[in-house]
Point group: C2
Chain length 414, copies 2
Amino acid sequence: MKRNVLIIGAGGVAQVVAHKCAQNNDILGELHIASRTRAKCDAIIEGVVAKGAMKVPGTFSSHAVDAMDSAAVAALIRDTGAEIVINVGSSFVNMTVLDACLETGAAYIDTAIHEDPKKICEAPPWYGNYEWKKRDLCAAKGVTAILGAGFDPGVVNAYARFAADQMDEVTSIDIVDINAGSHGRYFATNFDPEINFREFTGTVYSWQNGGWQENAMFEVGQDWDLPVVGTCRAYLSGHDEVHSLAANYPKADVRFWMGFGAHYINVFTVLKNLGLLSEQPVKTAEGLEVVPLKVVKAVLPDPASLAPDYTGKTCIGDVVKGVKDGKPVELFVYNVADHKEAYEEVGSQGISYTAGVPVVAAAMLVASGEWDAKTMKNVEELDPKPFLTILDRIGLPTRVQIGGLGGEDRAWNA
Amino acid sequence: MKRNVLIIGAGGVAQVVAHKCAQNNDILGELHIASRTRAKCDAIIEGVVAKGAMKVPGTFSSHAVDAMDSAAVAALIRDTGAEIVINVGSSFVNMTVLDACLETGAAYIDTAIHEDPKKICEAPPWYGNYEWKKRDLCAAKGVTAILGAGFDPGVVNAYARFAADQMDEVTSIDIVDINAGSHGRYFATNFDPEINFREFTGTVYSWQNGGWQENAMFEVGQDWDLPVVGTCRAYLSGHDEVHSLAANYPKADVRFWMGFGAHYINVFTVLKNLGLLSEQPVKTAEGLEVVPLKVVKAVLPDPASLAPDYTGKTCIGDVVKGVKDGKPVELFVYNVADHKEAYEEVGSQGISYTAGVPVVAAAMLVASGEWDAKTMKNVEELDPKPFLTILDRIGLPTRVQIGGLGGEDRAWNA
């Protein structure tokens, strides 16, 4: 049993996390939120209060912290008495926040893999470069660390485990992520442009035939006929969960497919070919050193600003194939979320919503002890059922199509 | 009679100017070249020496100068004894260099209009915002200043005057600029990207029906069937020469058309819509203030680097319509230049060549006295015949199609 939550970060996902923590503060206890800019935290808390989101009377406090400063984060954990840290700050702060948890004994939960701002798409498996190096230390200290507990990675890992548990052998896991929503802008990314573009500028790693396969972004495309959103084209992409699922299901092919429209691909291709998505600094004629990608981020809309006008739905799920009793079996496990409903509930768009809700479900399971693993875990290494049960209740219900895409459609636990 | 030339600038056009001055140093006298980075000047001089371009033995010296510092430029003019200054530096330095000429009495010649780095496409006529404000002072001091003596503006102004001199009344001047060459890169601008894009991000001004008409870039397109390069699509664009020709031929419609392929337009549209062509600074998440356009410039190929692989031709000319003896008349006055030939002669691509050769022809006419006007002039206010005669000899021959595009084709002076 752990109580009291410290949220690190104050972006779009943090806002969802704050609302969902408030809605479940009977389980989670005192709530705290910290980022470099305390005013952003205060704005989020004001939104929570305005919605009357706190389930029971309790505290929700803001703090200023530089999450790159591990000692400062550890001091804040001690000051607040937080036993659970939800890290939804930039992907660059994972290791310093994790170190603070190792120092204080608090449980650590995040939604995306650690990144070095200077590097893109390092050697697979990505988790091996940073997080997994601390696995033994987590076990030795009995510190719970749950990696990648957003939607993808996160829920999709639980979907893979849920499907795999019904098979004798898994032969392939294809994760398909389609955002069929519309934000009405010329161009915008749905989360931090810097992280968003970094996903697509490097080598696309997939796990096939027992080894890492390398492709270029947009090299391999496939149409998927999905529930609610219809037929959408998705492209083989690099993504965190491929790197843990490949380790846990090494005999299965593990691929991640992300949907893109022609306009997104055109803008991305122009920016990439010009060198404007580079994370390496260039020097202007006036001698100013600047990272092009950071300038692109500066001119693009703030992802949080898209929420009020966002309409349409997302469909994210796993096509899992395998063998059961000697026969081929197939399941599609998925969720459909709605941008407008997300905005009405928590003031955020659907992409932030799907990322933020699961990490709170994970925190509730750490609080209850069910997922308080006392070591480092990726989501597929934990029992998926209590996770999917909470998600059903707090906004992201899971459905299954039996026999694969287009098969008999029912609730996961029907 | 004036002698001794100081070239300001050390970019692609300056390189052409250096070669052409060397090839005519019997007329021009001692040669000097100055820019912020003296090493760039030295590299140009080395290229001139390597080609054996100096017609007669003489000096060609390099200097470091900040052309934004008028007093420093004036001191350099005095030190070098230059009586002719060819300004092919950035468009931001015109006024400080012109002031230095007014201070010292040296003749001033440039190839492009002055720009304030913070402003784009100011109120027409553009020359009225800066250069023409010094016209009376030039006249009072007897200082020669020839504005816009590259190809366009420059040669096309002389073409307009040459055609107009054969008519009783001019009804329209359509300048068409087609670069049908290929540089083999994903995307590049043919001269300084900052200046190149600035031309197309603001209002497109044309002079029609006796007034300024405003359009957006790429709003008005037209196919032109031109000699050598064939049918090309060109778009109504803002350009310097429209602003002086409209003042000198106020009864004629004056339009400038620039050719663009679909790929250029796509890249430009993406960059512009994202805000990456803005000259106004943005602030990155880290608090760094940076002008997006300067970052785009930093990632694009250096225009000078395109020269070795550039193939194909340019066609630039004036379709001039008018009335002679009560009957409608039409002339197309034009030049065709070749990228590869330009590179072989002076180590530059065709766009730099066509901009750099004419300004040297103008300098030769100042040296001879024929264009030593002792006041400020745009090119169409000067006798075009000696200009076209020199251009024939030094690399940019003029041809005419009688009756307009597709008419009988002959040398301008046949």
